[in-house]
């Protein structure tokens, strides 16, 4: 237990009156990152920081780490897929391991930038406010790096992360107080600021190193559909299920995402109600469009929507974010259902936004408190009626 001894030794320096008292938040963050603290989040007497997402004895850090582990299958697959797409597009004969290694090298700067910028700002705010550093960004940072195209310019990513952490989270008081999912705020910022780097056909395939020729382009299934070209000539259902298609880094493989979903559901960290209702909502909206069926996009079988773009990733990892989702059980059903429905609706009806999932989740994030309020109010009315109390208007 060398690490424990080390932390115990340097701890007095960071306590009140110690040499580095100003850095106490930073110290606390590293200490509790390495060791489970004796206290659980939200239970600290006198601390201003209270997360609203903790309902049992699991510390927030453990929660976030579970999410990170759940993200790993999609992340590892995404890395391999970066190499795979490049190899396919440029006609290169790469081995399995080299594809993965190429993807890893491409992915590394994105993850590093995302974490360094995001955590830097988190630490800064924690020091200014004399609070503990909140762990929320460990998950957010990884998610951000997984929902961007592999070719995203790093300075734009840094700007987006800074925007998401400051405007999406810290102005509202930090983790647990934000009403929008910070990862999606970062993506939305990139999408609206630099649309040429976030959509279109040029951004999904990384160039091999030391490559001087013209870049090869590759369209995502959603982009193909928006252009009105046929999907089946490019991708089979199996392609899209396994995820060997162009797309944002972590979102292509439905199988890998479902592995993560399984872990989240077994540990009870994500709400099965939200996941199920998102899928129901998307499916029903897809069926509705099938029934209308005035163009080829509308006639697309409804389950295709689960396989394309960020639908499953958003459904599993972002719609279920306990801070920004609805809290009541009935509210979760409504919230999830509307996310699925809006996502498919935006995709099909608005060609300017090929990816509807991001906007659907952000929209419902805004409405989640209202949904909760209505559910609670309805419950109170019902109970009053049951006991024949006066029902207030």
């Amino acid at each position: 237990m060398f690490l424990r001894n080390f932390f115990d030794k340097i701890k007095p320096n960071f306590s009140e009156g110690g040499r580095f008292a100003k850095l106490s938040s930073t110290f606390e963050a590293f200490e509790s990152f390495a060791f489970t603290p004796n206290t659980v989040t939200g239970g600290r007497v006198g601390a201003s920081y209270k997360g609203c997402h903790i309902r049992d004895a699991v510390d927030l850090k453990r929660t976030i780490i579970t999410v990170v582990i759940a993200l790993l299958p999609a992340l590892l697959f995404g890395m391999w897929n970066i190499g795979h797409q490049t190899a396919m597009a440029y006609g290169l004969d790469w081995t399995f391991l080299y594809k993965w290694w190429f993807g890893f090298l491409r992915m590394l700067p994105i993850i590093v930038v995302s974490y360094v910028v995001g955590l830097g700002i988190e630490f800064l705010f924690a020091e200014i406010r004399h609070e503990q550093v909140s762990e929320g960004f460990i998950g957010t940072g990884l998610i951000i790096s997984m929902i961007v195209p592999v070719t995203v310019p790093l300075w734009q990513l840094a700007l987006a992360v800074a925007f998401a952490v400051v405007i999406g989270k810290e102005v509202f008081g930090g983790s647990g107080y934000n009403f929008l999912n910070p990862a999606l705020v970062a993506r939305a910022f990139l999408f609206f600021s630099y649309p040429s780097h976030m959509s279109g056909d040029n951004v999904w395939i990384a160039q091999p190193f030391h490559f001087a020729g013209d870049a090869v382009t590759g369209a995502t299934p959603l982009a193909l559909l928006t252009e009105g070209s046929s999907l089946n000539s490019h991708f089979s259902v199996l392609n899209m299920l396994v995820g060997t298609i162009p797309g944002s880094i972590g979102e292509t493989s439905v199988v890998a995402i479902l592995l993560g979903a399984l872990l989240l559901l077994v540990t009870g960290i994500a709400s099965w109600r939200i996941m199920l209702s998102v899928i129901l909502g998307g499916g029903l909206m897809g069926l509705l469009f099938n029934a209308i069926g005035t163009n080829e996009y509308m006639q697309l079988p409804f389950y295709y929507h689960y396989l394309m773009g960020g639908f499953m990733f958003g459904c599993v990892f972002m719609a279920t974010d306990p801070v920004t989702a609805a809290q009541t059980n009935a509210g979760k059903w409504i919230y999830g259902f509307l996310i699925g429905a809006f996502a498919v609706m935006l995709r099909v009806l608005n060609p300017a936004y090929p990816e509807g999932m991001m906007l659907a989740i952000l929209l419902m994030n805004c409405f989640a408190p209202l949904i909760d309020h209505c559910v609670v109010a309805a419950n109170i009315r019902k109970r009053k009626a049951r006991w024949h109390l006066e029902v207030s208007k």
């Binding site: 310019p153 734009q156 405007i167 102005v171 910022f189 609206f192 600021s193 630099y194 040429s196 780097h197």
Partner: protein
């Protein structure tokens, strides 16, 4: 209250946009570039100042029950005058501002100052108050216009400053989000944040 405060306060601690949160609509709409923002700021300043002066002169003869109508007539007259002048001298900007010049009539700052100040104060004070509030509105517009045009288009007053600096050659790109109205609102929020922080300190 000293007369200088009538001009000074709206610029900082009693700012119509960041403290009273009035006139947000036009402040989001016309600040995508610096030039329309400055023209709009001047127009609103003229309208607020003159309508404050006129209403203050008339305040004892206006029957209270129809005062809003009277105020509106005065404001509309001034706005039409401003609109005609803009069309005559800076036609391109008046095209850019489009309906927002006409909408000065409904700008909450104008009606707010008439109701809250001009109806109960003398003409000189009212004129100063109008100028102060117009400038307070204007200063936020100019800040927004400056930031949004610089980072959204890479230009200032139409001059391609980022291009001359060679920023595009090293991979810089204009930010499309900052041109949109939501980002203007976020920028207003950031200005309010900074201002509150300064107020807390002092």
């Amino acid at each position: 209250m000293k007369r200088i405060d009538l001009i000074k306060n709206p610029l900082s601690k009693d700012n119509p946009i960041t403290v009273q949160v009035l006139g947000i609509c036009s402040c989001l709409a016309v600040t995508a570039q610096l030039k329309p923002a400055v023209v709009m700021a001047l127009s609103v300043t003229v309208v607020v100042a003159l309508s404050n002066l006129i209403i203050s002169l008339m305040r004892n003869t206006i029957p209270p029950r129809i005062r809003i109508i009277v105020q509106l007539v005065v404001v509309s007259t001034l706005v039409i005058l401003v609109n005609q002048i803009l069309m005559a001298f800076v036609y391109d900007v008046s095209k850019q501002l489009s309906v927002y010049v006409g909408l000065i009539i409904t700008n909450c700052i104008v009606m707010g100052r008439l109701e809250a100040f001009a109806m109960s104060h003398g003409p000189v004070d009212s004129l100063l108050d109008g100028i102060g509030n117009g400038l307070g509105y204007g200063i936020i517009l100019v800040i927004l216009g400056f930031v949004r045009e610089l980072f959204g288009r890479g230009t200032l007053w139409g001059y391609p400053i980022f291009e001359k600096l060679g920023l595009y050659n090293i991979g810089y790109e204009n930010n499309g989000f900052i041109i949109m109205a939501p980002m203007a609102l976020i920028l207003v929020g950031i200005i309010i944040w900074i201002q509150r922080r300064n107020c807390e300190k002092s």
